[in-house]
Amino acid sequence: METLNYLNNGHGLASWLLTKDHKRIALLYLVSITAFFFLGGMFAFMIRLELLTPAGDVMASDTYNKMFTMHGVVMVFFFLIPSIPAVLGNFLIPIMIGAKDLAFPRINLLSWYIYVLGGLFTLVAALSGGVDTGWTFYTPYSTAAANSHVITAALGIFITGFSSILTGLNFIVSVHRMRAPGLTWFRLPLFVWSMYATSLIFILGTPVIAITVLLVAAERTLHMGIFDPALGGDPVLFQHLFWFYSHPAVYIMILPAMGVISEIVQAFSRKNIFGYSFVAFSSLAIAIIGFLVWGHHLFVSGQSVYAGLMFSILSFLVAIPSAVKVFNWTATIYKGSVLLDSAMLYAFGFIGLFTIGGLTGLFLAAVGLDVHVHDTYFVIAHFHYIMVGGAIMGYMGGLHYWWPKISGRMYSEGWAKLAAGLIFIGFNLTFFPQFILGYLGMPRRYHVYPPEFQVLNIASTLGATVLAVGYLLPMVYFTYSIFYGEKASANPWGARGLEWEIPSPPPTENFLVTPIVTHGTHQYAPSREVGIV
């Protein structure tokens, strides 16, 4: 007889759509964000198709504007921001803290419905003609000029923001109030630390973008003069408010991935993390300093030069905790018993690509150089190295690492390694040429370009095709594994942590009895308590 677990404990659509189990809600999110990922990918494909040739021969410039806007909106708000928190965070945080569920299971389910509702608004905006403002909704374009469905898309973002807020609120309260006895803060897995830091950004940043897009909608409908200069407003205020959220939002995407990498690196090096408390505190430092750097998006927006210099320095500062993480992962791998499983391949990919993305971020934080590369493909390449090379690599690594726990099945390691390789090669081929294109002066958001840029653009489109195959493969072998995969043991990787001490897939209540934790949850080496407690 099959053991009762969260997957077979209740059947039928209602048992999923009305579930309060954090693990099932995680799977609801997994399905929906995957759908949005491929939708956003289709928009990206249209962009790369258009850029194969210097002339604008596939679509009109107006259509092209809508393509990159919808690509950005869908990928940022409906895939990247919820990806690791809502799927892996939802699934793992209660288990990692030794609890039966998050503090507010009903609010957790509500957050998924809110996400879906926000997604529907965005779909309606896309199907009824799209939005052409760019994902940044800069005023006065978004308030006075654009004739597209700005309000529908803005409301979609407004609504889905509440799903982020509720997820962050749930995580914070759970980590504070639901930890098992003996599980002190400095025994927590680093994934929990990074999710806690992410949640702080969720609750402090998201409300600001909510009020900002609400004001844009009010300005468009009621002619309130907040951002439109024709009505006495100040468009730069919009940029400040927008980036006050949207720069920290980059850390919403990367911090969870960093947490995943910290887990994978330990498990596949068979070593405790090097400098636990440094890695834990660097997450908080990134979250806090991340709120003070938004002005580096406004270097050419008429911001005072002194403000520009301050924001430049602060942006350099945020590189320090990020570098701490990279150094500590490297030191963890050093002299470890390194296993090259697919999850670890993604971790290696992450560390390298994130480093490139981070270092080119320093180029952009330098006021003088930014004037040269501002709004060029250099910026595009930089943030795709962070968001795709960083965040999605971390997400994929995490999915591969915890898939046996989530599904109770093993996937094909050979295919997984092939996919990891394709994604790495395809990614670099897509985005590295864009650094060069940008440095040579190709601006972003144009669908026509001088013929001398064509070779690099062809390389980029070719890479995007390889990348697409790399992303489709896991869809196939993960789905295959659910039906035909070998059954996973409780701890297929020989890893440490509470999640590997319960069956795969876990029972609905996670733990038979509340666990009592007597040491750090990741003990790869003989017991050595972390210094600060």
């Binding site: 609890a99 409300p207 003069g225 006495g232 205020l237 733990f511 009895v513």
Partner: protein, 248 residues
């Protein structure tokens, strides 16, 4: 951290590897459970702490939400101080003061409502305090509606029909844009608060709240006090600052 884990038993780490019963995890028998204890909490103390912390965290998000508007106010007040002074003179200070007094008193009655639940006062007493608070809330909204009506009558609602006799029509329109956004958003929070309190009154009527379980009353109280505090900031910013500059 709550010390509410006394029921947990010590088990060696490998125990979790064996198949477990899905409905397991309940603490040892012999403890009477409060009917309101949700399955994933160990005890009522942990559940209450989680709920109040949740509301505090939510209020932090509310501060950031209103914060964007306060920021806009700050920027434009700094950019056109004279226009804002001129425009604020057309707000009715009497109504504003009355509303401030009403909200402060409603916070008192709300606090008394929470206290009546904490001390297991009779259901009627609890309901009475909640209903009185709701009446104050409704009075506030009524006065707000009168003010809004006057603004419509005088054509000082931003938009195509905006008319301004003074020196700074643009700045004044902007002031009233912010006025309607800020007080409108605040009023929306009041309406939501009235909805929550309707539910609270209905459940209190059935005698649900007592010294053992009063979390919903306490959490609703926190929300209500927050909405009051927002008004305490809105009132001076919109109605009072700069009025003495008016030459007349």
């Amino acid at each position: 951290m709550s010390d509410g884990h006394a029921h947990a038993e010590h088990l060696s780490g490998s125990t979790y590897g064996s198949p477990v019963h899905v409905d397991g995890g309940h603490p040892a028998p012999g403890h009477a459970h409060h009917p309101k204890l949700q399955h994933h909490f160990d005890d009522m103390g942990q559940q209450a702490e989680a709920a109040t912390l949740g509301m505090w965290v939510f209020l932090v998000t509310e501060i950031m939400f209103f914060g964007g508007l306060f920021m806009a106010y700050l920027v434009y007040r700094h950019a056109s101080p004279s226009a804002f002074q001129e425009a604020s003179h057309h707000l009715n200070v009497f109504y504003g003061t009355l509303n401030t007094a009403i909200l402060i008193v409603s916070s008192l009655t709300m606090a008394l409502g929470v206290r009546s639940a904490q001390t297991s006062a009779p259901a009627k007493t609890q309901v009475m305090w909640i209903v009185i608070t709701m009446m104050f809330g409704a009075a506030f909204l009524g006065i707000k509606a009168i003010e809004y009506t006057e603004k419509f009558r005088d054509h000082i609602v931003p938009g195509p029909n905006f008319r301004w006799e003074g020196l700074y029509p643009h700045g004044a329109e902007q002031f009233y844009s912010l006025y309607f956004c800020m007080t409108g958003l605040h009023a929306l929070h009041m309406v939501i608060g009235l909805g929550i309190m309707t539910w609270l009154a209905l459940t209190a009527l059935r005698g649900r709240y007592n010294a053992d379980y009063y979390t919903p009353v306490e959490v609703a109280g926190l929300y209500w006090h927050f909405v009051d505090i927002v008004w305490i900031f809105l009132f001076p910013l919109l109605y009072l600052i700069g009025r003495h500059y008016h030459a007349a």
